[in-house]
């Protein structure tokens, strides 16, 4: 059977849902947008205009939960990369809005530039397990207001895969629409193909910020999928028990569902989460902690409990360098999510709590994800895998190397083929210059970057995109 991971029983998931409803009915959420408050008041929610808070009744949540499409396709510019959600197996995404890069050539930590988005997109494009691409860093060499749009456009230019970004303010939606229309040919195609989606972050605890909310509400007219992404940290911006922090995050999601469905019914929504913990002494946000892993696994289960596609933060580390801590934390924050059936694990390629992009780490994390995928497939006990005939033929003693089934199974997905792990015996390993996974990763990144872009955009389209980028650079 497949290998499953869960940290909560169905009854416990019910309990979380009930507590989230109580939070919305009794405590409410703060929404710093008159537009959204007005919308909810019309729907029968109880609004306190002075405090900008709203108490959302259970019936409203239930009504809008029913309206959410439960499956859709995240389209890609290159259609073979289209991703059906929910998917069959977990795939991976980078994270977004990092500010720094571990420079590929010097190894020094520096501010990110637009070319880093381009390079990361090319590395990501070469990874089979990479499906959804969030431009990973905010470029410092472009006008601040335009960094989002320029990052998304650069990702489109250098990768054929689905692009996910975020809307920081409503003015950006016009440029997103222009970009998507340029790439798909028409507004109808933009709506149909869904090659772009946006992350929407609530502000913990229980708040919605005006700019991002109104921007994302405006985006719903394109029917772009929205990833709801609460981030309370247990003990600081969320309550200190993991259970309560999960219930609070889920309440933030339920309030987002009501807002977006009330804005544009039928908007495709993705259940996400980036809950964290804090260092109990310094207050630093912790992504690679085991408590983070437990909460994210629970949130993955919550998403599936409601029947949503899921994109959840995972494969995370607080380490400053590639190495043991990074590998341990990333594995511990990836495997349980994959085992819980998370559609896309979001966090590859980053060190330092998703602030510092590292190109080698993208491939290293891809390797972790692939190992986890294999774990999730478990042990296949179907009758053709019993191999009783072979066991009889070889009998006691002897070997199975010459069996046809051995040859066939070695080429099947019964076995995972690592692309970075080092498995040479000692002498050969020394003679190869004692390679390790990090150096193998570096070598592969070098190869990828030496090659031409795999899926270039047609010249005419590229010209239009560059014009849109220029205009955004001037106007935003």
């Amino acid at each position: 059977m497949n290998m499953f991971g869960s940290v909560m029983s169905n009854q416990e998931l019910d309990g979380i849902h009930k507590q989230s409803i109580s939070i919305l009915e009794e405590v409410g959420v703060r929404i710093r947008s008159e537009k959204a408050l007005g919308l909810l008041e019309n729907e029968g929610a109880q609004v306190d205009w002075q405090e900008q808070t709203v108490k959302i009744p259970r019936e409203l949540v239930e009504k809008y939960l029913k309206l959410c499409p439960k499956s859709f396709t995240l389209g890609a510019r290159v259609e073979k990369y289209n991703l059906d959600m929910p998917g069959r197996i977990s795939t991976i995404n980078l994270d977004g809005t990092g500010t720094r890069v571990r420079d590929f050539h010097t190894g020094q930590r520096r501010e990110a530039v637009l070319d880093d988005v381009a390079k990361a997109a090319r590395v990501f494009d070469a990874m089979e397990e990479g499906t959804v691409l969030w431009p990973p860093v905010v470029a410092h060499d472009v006008p601040v207001g335009a960094a989002g749009i320029l990052g998304a456009a650069t990702a489109f230019l250098h990768s054929g895969k689905h692009i996910q970004d975020e809307i920081k303010k409503e003015k950006e939606v016009y440029y997103v629409e222009q970009l998507l229309t340029a790439m798909t040919g028409s507004l109808d195609e933009v709506v149909r193909r869904k090659i772009y989606s946006a992350t929407y972050c609530t502000v913990a605890p229980l708040s919605h910020d005006k700019e991002m909310l109104e921007g994302t509400m405006a985006l719903t007219r394109l029917k772009a999928p929205i990833l709801m992404y609460p981030m309370p940290a247990s003990g600081s911006t969320g309550p200190a028990s993991l259970y309560a922090n999960i219930a609070l995050a889920n309440a933030e999601i339920l309030s987002s569902i009501v807002i977006f469905q009330a804005t544009t019914p039928g908007t495709p929504l993705i259940y996400g989460a980036a809950l964290g913990a804090i260092d109990r002494r310094s207050g630093a946000y912790l992504e690679g902690s085991v408590e983070t892993a437990l909460q994210l696994t629970a949130m993955t289960q919550m998403g599936k409990y409601y029947g949503f596609p899921t994109i959840v933060a995972g494969c995370l580390t607080d380490a400053h360098e590639m190495g043991f801590q990074a590998a341990m934390e990333k594995t511990l924050t990836c495997l349980p999510l994959v085992l819980a059936g998370c559609d896309v694990v979001q966090g590859a390629g980053f060190l330092e709590s998703s602030m510092t992009l590292c190109l080698e780490q993208i491939l290293l994390d891809g390797e972790i994800l692939k190992c986890c995928q294999r774990m999730a497939r478990g042990v296949d006990t179907s009758s053709e895998k019993a191999l009783m005939e072979e066991i009889g033929r070889v009998g006691p003693g002897g070997h199975f190397l010459k069996e046809k089934s051995t040859k066939a199974l070695f080429r099947s997905d019964e076995y995972f083929s690592p692309s970075l792990s080092v498995r040479e015996p000692y002498e050969s390993w020394v003679s190869l210059g004692s390679p390790d996974m990090i150096r193998q990763g570096r070598a592969q990144v070098e190869k990828i970057l030496e090659k031409e872009i795999t899926h270039p955009i047609p010249e005419r389209t590229e010209k239009v995109i560059r014009e849109i980028m220029e205009e955004a650079g001037r106007e935003l």
Partner: protein, 215 residues
């Protein structure tokens, strides 16, 4: 009640982060005729120093320190009020003013820095979150803090740190105040570029930085 007994209760109130207790006993001590400076030095300050020590020794976690700092702040307000009423100046010490910049509602990082600074003997003026730039400038003009700390969590709001520094410049206030910046997307390069006096990556290093800046 004997003064020594009172000092002990006040020390404990701060150490254990009991805000209401701290206020209550500050008032009792004043009613008993003790001098505000004496109450501060022998009672509350001893408590906050011990809280700082316990934190250094890894006995105290962040919430212990935040509560101790808030108890200290509450007691200070009572004592300052008494000092002013008596026609004295406020209690001495350096003042730091903190704000999360315009357009940014993330407040926890700034709050932690404020607690750490309070625990280390700084007077704190916390302007809150999403503070309009104009309001920051106005507060600086009025309160004349030694240091202004500006926090930003979003790449899109970092720019306001630069803006505030420029506004200080235009108002001729820049040379009278040290400015430090912080927040997840901020780093030393950014601080240098916008002309801040310093950057701290954690609350603990913010305290060190603040102390260095006023040397």
């Amino acid at each position: 009640m004997e003064p020594m007994e009172l000092f002990e209760i006040m020390r404990k109130a701060v150490l254990e982060g009991e805000e209401e207790e701290a206020v209550k006993w500050a008032n009792v001590a004043l009613e008993e005729g003790l001098h505000p400076q004496e109450i501060m030095d022998q009672g509350f300050l001893v408590g906050i120093r011990q809280a700082g020590e316990l934190y250094e020794q890894e006995e105290y976690f962040l919430p212990d320190l935040v509560c101790a700092a808030d108890a200290m702040k509450a007691a200070l307000e009572v004592l300052d009020h008494a000092l002013k009423k008596a026609g004295n100046k406020e209690a001495g010490g350096k003042t730091v003013m903190l704000a999360t910049v315009q357009g940014d509602v993330h407040d926890i990082g700034k709050t932690i820095v404020g607690a750490m600074l309070t625990a280390n003997g700084w007077n704190l003026v916390d302007l809150g979150q999403d503070v309009p730039n104009e309001e920051v400038i106005q507060a600086v003009e009025e309160k004349r803090p030694d240091i202004l700390g500006l926090s930003a969590l979003l790449t899109s709001t970092m720019e306001e740190q630069k803006e505030v520094i420029q506004m200080l410049q235009e108002k001729g206030l820049r040379s009278q105040i040290k400015v430090m910046v912080g927040g997840a997307p901020v780093n030393q390069e950014w601080a240098d570029r916008i002309g801040a006096d310093g950057y701290a990556e954690s609350a603990v290093s913010a305290v060190k930085l603040a102390q260095e800046l006023i040397k």
